[in-house]
Symmetry: C2
Subunit: 221 residues, 2 copies
Amino acid sequence: MKIIKIEKKILSENQKCSIENKSLLAERKKLCLNMISSPGSGKTTILVRTINELKDRIKIGVIEGDVQTDIDAERIRTTEAPVVLINTEGACHLSAVQIKKALKKLPIDDLDIVLIENVGNLVCPSAFELGEAGKIVVLSVAEGDDKPAKYPAIFAKSKALLINKTDLLGHVDFDMERAKADARRLNKTIEIFPVSAKTGEGLADWYDWLRKTLEQTKTRP
Amino acid sequence: MKIIKIEKKILSENQKCSIENKSLLAERKKLCLNMISSPGSGKTTILVRTINELKDRIKIGVIEGDVQTDIDAERIRTTEAPVVLINTEGACHLSAVQIKKALKKLPIDDLDIVLIENVGNLVCPSAFELGEAGKIVVLSVAEGDDKPAKYPAIFAKSKALLINKTDLLGHVDFDMERAKADARRLNKTIEIFPVSAKTGEGLADWYDWLRKTLEQTKTRP
């Protein structure tokens, strides 16, 4: 019983800080999205391509969460976008306190969008609000079409689902309609984008959604 | 500071129970392995194939951990191997207490090997001993060759690494030598088996290792 009480306390500390982050971003009319997936679904490749292909019109900054190493942060740096790395030193998710500190290091007034790349983990990060306007879940077709059913929390909570690595569709057993139907059963309003960050297929729809969502953020009273 | 103390307490409760499980299994000379990976690396497919291809000589029972659903347990049941399902209801790893209860439900005296399929998560399960004789980490080539470096804990702690989905090697960017070298940098004695649970490629070496490890378990004084 004691354990449950304390867990609640940690969550509400995180919650308090996430509300502060959300207010800071909303006041400045910045769009902040929290990208969550299993390891190796292709979050960083999607980010690099998105930043490069939108950089003339939209300024994106990145908060990069990793258990160890700066491999992903270095990949983001090739785009010249501002990036702040958070090494969690073994911890399985980012916290709102870490995001609060990272936001202070980003040139926030020069940015339109802050994209947070969470630790590769389809379970834990879904339970921790960071102050984002929405979560984006990425699923690679190589992971299998049963993942929305098996890991429902993140699919239920996300604004958009990117089904990545569609270039592998001929080589893996993945029923796109099953994955979509299971995700929509959990979340009626989820936007679903089948994409290949490798070939670029499908990314135009994701970019349109990003632009539209940014526009709504900027014009909100 | 309080949080750290309590975390230690939880871990040592788990530790105590894991030692009990380990003793129970060692007394009966049963080999118990804890399989850990990201979601969708192919643990269940490996298990199904391993059980079916060894069933004339080795009796395997399975403890199946899942956040939700009985999808994987149903797949294991097609092999007619005994299986106990643990639904963690959102929790990100199996605990030794859950394994203790599950072991009571398995016909342990009829089995040679107990294979635990942990929750799909490359981070959290590595921190919780369940009473196993060793951990097996599974990595799919679709996840990328940088995963041992990025998620070092589980690679450092495992007895064996199965690099699965080698049938996709022509279609994904995966440097086998880099993945192997990074895993061996973390763990000098790790056994590495590149396999395809789909085509069967490489599985003979994994079966040999299982047989050899089982033999050592049975002949230990």
